[in-house]
Subunit: 431 residues, 2 copies
């Protein structure tokens, strides 16, 4: 079988903490396995100083749940972990409950009920690790990426961080960055699995391989066309720009600068390109860019940015810190009592309130069933995602989720889009 780590058929069932299965075993033994439960995914807080979070990974999660099956190989691996009765139960396992949640691409705030899972205890508890892995990773990346997109103020961003993260995370990171508004990725598997546009230029190795820089540029143009992007900073940038135009002509697609004082170099390169007549040649910058560096380049003649390390590692917040908590058993709200970790029992929903102008005002989190007024500009946030164990029809595509986020960011009060540290863009009110 081919198809990479995202492809169909491969079981996701062992991507799970051991204690989920031993709890199932103990619950099957004492009769609590069938108790009707509600679990909720939420974040107690945003990463330090962040003003919003972006829900990402929902689509990957729903697809992964359909592959959460215990085949012969998985069961064999579990023979020392749980008893025979539990192995039988696992062999027949498929999720049959219901899931509601914030649509992918929606914003979230502290306490937002991002995902609500209803099912028997055993059916629902077993999905905890997988659900959190996917949502915590993908939301961390999308939340960082959205800040970079805002900082770029309309200029395109290319995600090129695959080499800085686990090889399978790289594929999910490319997806999350695209969801957040990046225009393309360097990652070929992300192109295949998620139909994201792929892009690339050349490495310094390409220049060093050749006897001279002009020869390297000429070969690249010959093979890939004048619209290619030539990397001009291997030796002397001024000379590199000159040779690039010499090799490709004034129709050269773009140059890339990957080192040095990027703003100053971009200004010089723009002047030089214009003087050479290459007025349509674009300037791509890369090299340890994050949202702050991108924002600082806003006044410079830059056409697009290549971003690596900072986006795939969540720019200082590599995980979203979401938790998966049991909030209701047989209709009864339950909650851990601990001073340090504030928890609220009971199944919850949420309404985001907006001004008539479309600006978000507050996130109202309330018990399911309680009467919370929903004004004409307000929005009920959770939507059905899984019914009878199956993803609902017509779930949004990745491009639709991307559009949702674009719209959601427009609704954030302007302070909420600042890169500086601060409070959440809107308060969460527990009604």
């Amino acid at each position: 079988m081919s198809g990479g780590p995202q492809a169909g058929g491969v079981s996701t069932a062992l991507l799970t903490d051991r204690y989920e299965l031993t709890m199932v075993a103990a619950a099957l033994a004492d009769g609590t396995a069938d108790r009707s439960c509600v679990f909720e995914v939420f974040a107690r807080r945003l990463p330090d100083g962040r003003r919003y979070g972006v829900v990402a990974g929902t689509g990957r999660l729903l697809e992964s749940i359909t592959r959460f099956r215990f085949g012969d190989e998985e069961l064999a691996a579990l023979s020392g972990v749980v008893d025979a009765a539990t192995l039988d139960w696992l062999a027949a396992y498929r999720f049959t409950g219901e899931i509601d949640g914030y649509p992918e691409g929606e914003l979230y705030f502290p306490g937002s009920p991002i995902l609500t899972i209803r099912g028997t205890f055993a059916d629902a508890v077993i999905l905890e690790t997988l659900a959190l892995s996917i949502l915590n990773h993908d939301s961390a990346i999308a939340s960082a990426a959205a800040r970079m997109v805002t900082a770029a103020a309309g200029r395109p961003l290319i995600e090129m961080g695959s080499r800085r993260t686990h090889e399978a995370s790289a594929v999910a990171a490319a997806r999350a960055a695209y969801l957040a508004g990046f225009g393309a990725t360097s990652n070929l598997e992300a192109g295949r699995s998620h139909a994201i546009p792929t892009a690339g230029t050349a490495a310094h190795a390409w220049i060093l391989l050749h006897d001279d820089e002009l020869g390297a540029f000429r070969s690249q143009v010959e093979a890939l066309g004048a619209d290619t992007t030539l990397l001009v900073d291997t030796y002397d940038i001024r000379r590199g720009v000159e040779l690039a135009v010499q090799a490709a002509g004034t129709g050269l697609g773009a140059i890339r600068i990957d080192s040095g004082d990027l703003g100053e170099l971009a200004r010089q390169a723009r002047e030089q390109l214009d003087a050479l007549g290459a007025v349509t040649t674009r300037i791509v910058l890369s090299g340890d860019l994050d949202e702050y560096a991108i924002a600082s380049l806003r006044a410079e003649p830059v056409d697009s940015y290549g971003v690596g390390t900072s986006v795939v590692t969540g720019s200082g917040a590599p995980t979203a810190g979401m938790v998966y908590k049991l909030v209701e058993v047989d209709g009864r709200p339950v909650t851990k009592r601990s001073a340090a970790k504030e928890s609220r029992g009971g199944a919850k929903s949420a309404v985001r309130r907006f001004k008539p102008t479309g600006t978000a005002v507050e996130e109202v989190v309330h018990a399911v069933g309680s009467r919370v007024p929903v004004g004409p500009h307000d929005r009920v946030l959770p939507v059905p995602l899984v019914r009878g164990g199956e993803p609902v029809p017509d779930l949004p595509t990745l491009d639709e989720s991307r559009e949702r986020l674009r719209g959601a960011l427009v609704s954030v009060p302007w302070e909420g889009l600042k890169l500086s540290r601060g409070e959440p863009a809107i308060p969460t009110v527990f009604a």
Copy 2:
């Protein structure tokens, strides 16, 4: 097919940046594809303030290279990316070169030649993204985990961070943490793929599911035996400890405390357990532990630690920052000339010098072929890893690499094991 993301047969070829393949296409077209090249993986610096790095992921990389094949599905996905001649070349691709490198579990320092890849340009450049993804991720985790193991001063550590990172990263993170000296992981796929011991306790959901805490404890003991670990901090910890011993008897295996002032709570729980006669019951602490928190608990009566977020995210350094640089073409050293990024051309080797007492003194990085004296206590670091495209026989097992690291850490000067920020434990000397 079953078997999770680690299992055999699945192609790794698209876990690659697009520009690697377009460079191959251009090199095939201009005749440079067959130039004999040497690429080197190294880190320009350690993460801010760290004193050593741990090489990890080598075993995973060598296995992944054997699956770096372009099958029909991969080639179909590349039809718009490269030309027909390149697709033919990719279809026949298998790495046929040589790889040397630091053994997995070895320490590295700035400039250490961690991996040296020899082959034609096309053969070797194409492995860049995959090699860096694996080494940067796994080394970041192992480097952080090793500091936690040092901080724990012999007490066992359990890796339980799967939920805080991408679902496939979680498996690799468990492997890297085990390599660094953790005793077990919560991750079942890591247990299957890498034969790492798995462990687990129970979640707060287990307690909340039941009508009362005593009932939950009794059920768990009934199903899993008195040697299980009971989670005692759902409601009142003092009462929890009392009920835990009531449910399991004085032979209770362990209690886990996941919140609050862990040192103070551990002291109180130890006193209480001893007073109840449960003198052999162990105390497991968890809850946002990192190397600093672990070190601060050294004087407390703790038996083991459960570590999550901080280990799987590299405790502030989620990527190792290694690069894959072309250093030699047809026997000629090559190097990028840029003020900001110091580079040294030419294939390199390294010797670590030791005092007769076994304490490391310096890392000598030198050109291959140059005469560097190797004293009786010194060690040549790179070893053969791949010959004729195939992993060499008798590569170290994960347990052997774990032993290697344990020995390497003993050799570090004592300042080098401090958790505080500082310089690399030994200097790198370029001979």
